[in-house]
């Protein structure tokens, strides 16, 4: 490294003066810093979203009894710590909104996207660093607006994260006034942030790849982020449309979604789900990318069927535009359309199957190292399958007639989003932590966190399938109001206790992050002996990513245990030794 720098004086960024603290850490245009900012924002929001979940679980296990330690919350939010129905509605609304828009998206797309894209394609930064910085700050403003809605009269939005009109369109229907408006505004602002993000990602991936980095030498995570950015680009404006119309209904006296004035309530659902379904794949594709990186690295084996993996993601992205109606089977939409959506929804299982089987193919005959990252990645595969398979029940229209809007759906949501996206986040965090902070995460703590989380997660969400099979509706704050749900209460209590364990386990993660950032073992450039380009520079990389010139790519990112290599890995910037020998 140092010799290379000597050869090309001033070519690296080290020739530039280090910017001051504010430029470096707050209004930084460095993609690595922005990635970390997204990470910390998301962790902060996760604590809030998680706290909402804990309160919800208390209410469901011990309905209408005061929550311990919460008696300080003023009326009408809580009554001496007891949760009234409207507060419960606000809670799951904010829980889901925060988890989806301010946890999973910022982590998977904002954090990993920003941190990894330039490093893995061999660029010094994003195509538009200032736009990138703006994208974070606009996103942060959106988060602040959403959090502000906790403090307005009437409380935060309470119409579910799907905010079905007309419930969401008229203040008196929910009793929520500015809370819902701020919810809309926050998501419109977030839409602008993510538009800026996707412009940056797409341009960077198309235009800024280093020499030799062809499209089919990109790591799968970059493929995933590229496709995700395209999905974001096309999906979020449609959500913005819906939100603007909803705001007009609430504030300007229009009747877009109100039948009294010739409006159409189902239009909201069509617009929302036309965005909403691609949205769920936005949250799983980067997770799939992370899993591919981690599983291949720690199996010391090339990813099985690289091309099939990339095409499968493309297919998922394409199909995700024509399945939105599966959320509306019972909505009164023309049932003939339902049959069409059932077929497309079933078909979208096929590319997902390709991915799952290829991960199995990757560990087959591998040399598997059970690091904490690998364990989380394998858990991702195992849990995603359960969530995906429960999706097949719902895709079947007659069965969905029974399980729609029950806890079966809630189980599905959490198996794909927690079991899927969050486990992949854990894997990715442990895997790239040394690159981000220059220090390794503590393996023991990470493994303790992994095992507790895995067990508690399954104890929390698997029994929800059984609740759903009994017709336990979602979004009800007191199951004991129904005679037929009373015998199920022990299950609800069991779920809640597991959920508290699950929530507590996340403190281990938090502790591990903080401890490792300060005291973790120093990491070398390539602690996992991995191939992709981010491992060819120092940990953490310098401003400008590489001292000296950019690496040049000679082959794909998954050359593990290659017969040509002397080691069991072959970084992308190293020529295949046999070929180099031939070239002489």
């Amino acid at each position: 490294m140092s010799t290379a720098r000597a050869e090309v004086p001033g070519a690296g960024s080290t020739g530039r003066p280090q910017p001051g603290f504010v430029r470096r850490c707050i209004f930084s245009t460095d993609h690595k810093t922005i990635g970390k900012q997204f990470l910390f924002m998301a962790l902060f929001m996760m604590a809030i979203g998680g706290a909402m979940a804990m309160l919800m679980r208390w209410e469901l296990a011990f309905p209408e009894t005061p929550v311990p330690l919460m008696s300080w919350v003023p009326e009408p939010y809580m009554y001496g710590g007891a949760i009234p129905p409207n507060t419960y509605n606000s809670m799951f609304t904010m829980h889901a909104t925060i988890m989806i828009f301010f946890v999973i998206m910022p982590i998977l797309v904002g954090c990993f996207g920003n941190f990894l894209i330039p490093l893995m394609i061999g660029a010094r930064d994003m195509a538009f660093p200032v736009l990138n910085m703006l994208s974070f700050w606009v996103g942060a403003i959106a988060a602040v607006i959403l959090l502000a809605s906790f403090f307005v009269t009437g409380g935060p939005a309470a119409a579910g994260w799907t905010s079905y009109a007309p419930l969401s369109a008229v203040p008196i229907y929910t009793g929520v006034d500015w809370g819902q408006n701020l919810w809309c505004i926050s998501l419109i602002v977030l839409g602008i942030s993510s538009l800026m993000g996707s412009i940056n990602y797409i341009t960077t991936i198309i235009n800024m790849r280093t020499r030799g980095m062809t499209f089919f030498r990109l790591p799968l995570i970059i493929w995933a982020l590229f496709i995700t950015a395209i999905l974001l680009l096309f999906a979020l404006p449609v959500l913005s449309t819906a939100l603007v119309l909803l705001l007009f209904d609430r504030l300007a006296g229009t009747h877009f979604f109100l039948p009294q004035g010739g409006g159409e309530p189902l239009l909201w659902q069509h617009l929302f789900w036309f965005f909403g379904h691609p949205e769920v794949y936005i949250m799983i594709l980067p997770a799939m990318g992370i899993a591919s990186e981690v599983i291949s690295t720690f199996s010391r084996k090339p990813i099985f069927g690289y091309h099939a993996m990339a095409y499968a993601m493309g297919a998922i992205a394409f199909l995700s535009w024509i399945v939105w109606g599966h959320h509306m089977f019972q909505s009164g939409m023309n049932p003939a359309l339902g049959s069409g959506f059932m077929i497309t929804t079933m078909i979208i299982g096929v590319p997902s199957a390709i991915k799952v089987f290829n991960w199995l193919g990757t560990i087959y005959k591998g040399n598997i190292h059970y690091t904490a990252a690998m364990m989380n990645a394998l858990a991702f595969v195992a849990m995603f399958i359960i969530g995906g398979l429960s999706g097949i029940f719902m895709a079947c229209t007659p069965v969905d007639m029974y399980i729609h809007d029950t806890y079966f759906i809630v189980a599905h949501i959490h198996y794909v989003l927690f079991g899927g996206s969050l486990f992949a986040f854990f894997a990715g965090l442990i895997y790239w932590f040394p690159k981000m902070f220059g220090r390794m995460m503590n393996e023991t703590l990470a493994k303790v966190h992994f095992w507790i989380t895995l067990v508690a997660f399954n104890c929390t969400f698997f029994p929800m399938h059984i609740l759903g099979m009994n017709g336990h509706m979602r979004r009800i704050y007191n199951p004991l109001q129904y005679d037929f749900l009373k015998p199920l209460q022990p299950i609800n209590i069991f779920i809640s206790i597991s959920a508290f364990v699950l929530g507590a386990a996340q403190f281990i993660l938090l502790a591990n992050i903080i401890w490792s950032m300060a005291k973790g073992k120093r990491a070398g450039a390539n602690p996992w002996r991995a191939n992709s380009l981010e491992w060819t520079t120092s940990s953490p990389p310098v401003h400008g990513n590489w001292d000296g010139p950019l690496p040049v790519v000679h082959h794909g990112p998954y050359e593990y245990s290659s017969p040509f290599g002397e080691e069991d890995y072959l970084p992308q910037n190293v020529e295949t030794p046999a070929k180099a020998a031939v070239a002489g």
Binding site: E7, T203, S240, V244, A252, H369, P549, L550, E567, N573
Partner: protein
């Protein structure tokens, strides 16, 4: 696992120092087929297209399901003046195109003139739209007058807002031209703005056809 690389990392020296983004030297990049700025504005327009598609889709749902469109009792939209206004906007697309040619040939005086005319045409379009709106409001077409009024103001307003943004952007480019900051070497500022301008012009006839007829 071992904690550092076993294989030496080979780096090739930087050949061309092309400038990207913040101006960090990016070494060994092949020149891309399409520049970052142009690509970015095209991507932006893809997103904008979806935004308009959402609004137009909603509009069509109401229009096609309504028994009478426009509903009886509400004022008709002024077609003649809007025809004229359409030509104004389309003409601005032509002058924009001429401006792009001028900057490519480095004819700066001509560029200034054409940019000025384009911005003026855009402003005229907005002004006429504005006066139309005032008339319609006076005649009782409100946002709250059923879906007819609501879709009219939101859809046309969305487009108007885009024209406004385009005009502001164009003014900035115009100012740069006046200050002599534009030349054949820095023509992409004009070209990128032009792409956006064409988009705004191209959307209008579609809306005009759907909304006014």
């Amino acid at each position: 696992m071992a904690s550092s690389t076993a294989i030496p990392i080979r780096l090739v020296p930087a050949s061309r120092g092309r400038q990207f983004g913040e101006g960090l030297p990016s070494g060994d990049l092949e020149a891309p087929i399409i520049s970052n700025g142009r690509l970015a504005v095209l991507i932006l327009l893809a997103g904008e297209t979806m935004l308009f598609a959402g609004f137009i889709g909603a509009f069509l749902v109401y229009k096609l399901s309504a028994p009478f469109w426009p509903p009886p009792g509400l004022p008709r939209l002024p077609i003649e003046i809007t025809w004229a206004n359409t030509f104004v906007l389309l003409a601005s697309g032509v002058t924009m195109n001429l401006a792009v040619r001028a900057v490519r040939r480095n004819r700066i005086a001509r560029l200034r003139l054409l940019l000025g005319i384009t911005a003026l045409l855009g402003a005229i379009f907005l002004a006429v739209q504005g006066s139309e709106w005032i008339g319609l409001i006076a005649h009782g077409l409100r946002l709250s007058s059923g879906t007819y009024g609501a879709t009219f103001y939101t859809l046309i307003g969305l487009h108007g807002f885009h024209v406004l943004c385009a005009v502001v952007w164009l003014m900035a480019v115009f100012a740069a031209a006046l200050l002599g900051r534009l030349s054949a070497f820095r023509r992409s500022a004009v070209e990128i703005c032009a792409i956006y301008w064409y988009f705004v012009c191209a959307v209008w006839p579609v809306l005009f056809y759907l909304v006014y007829f």
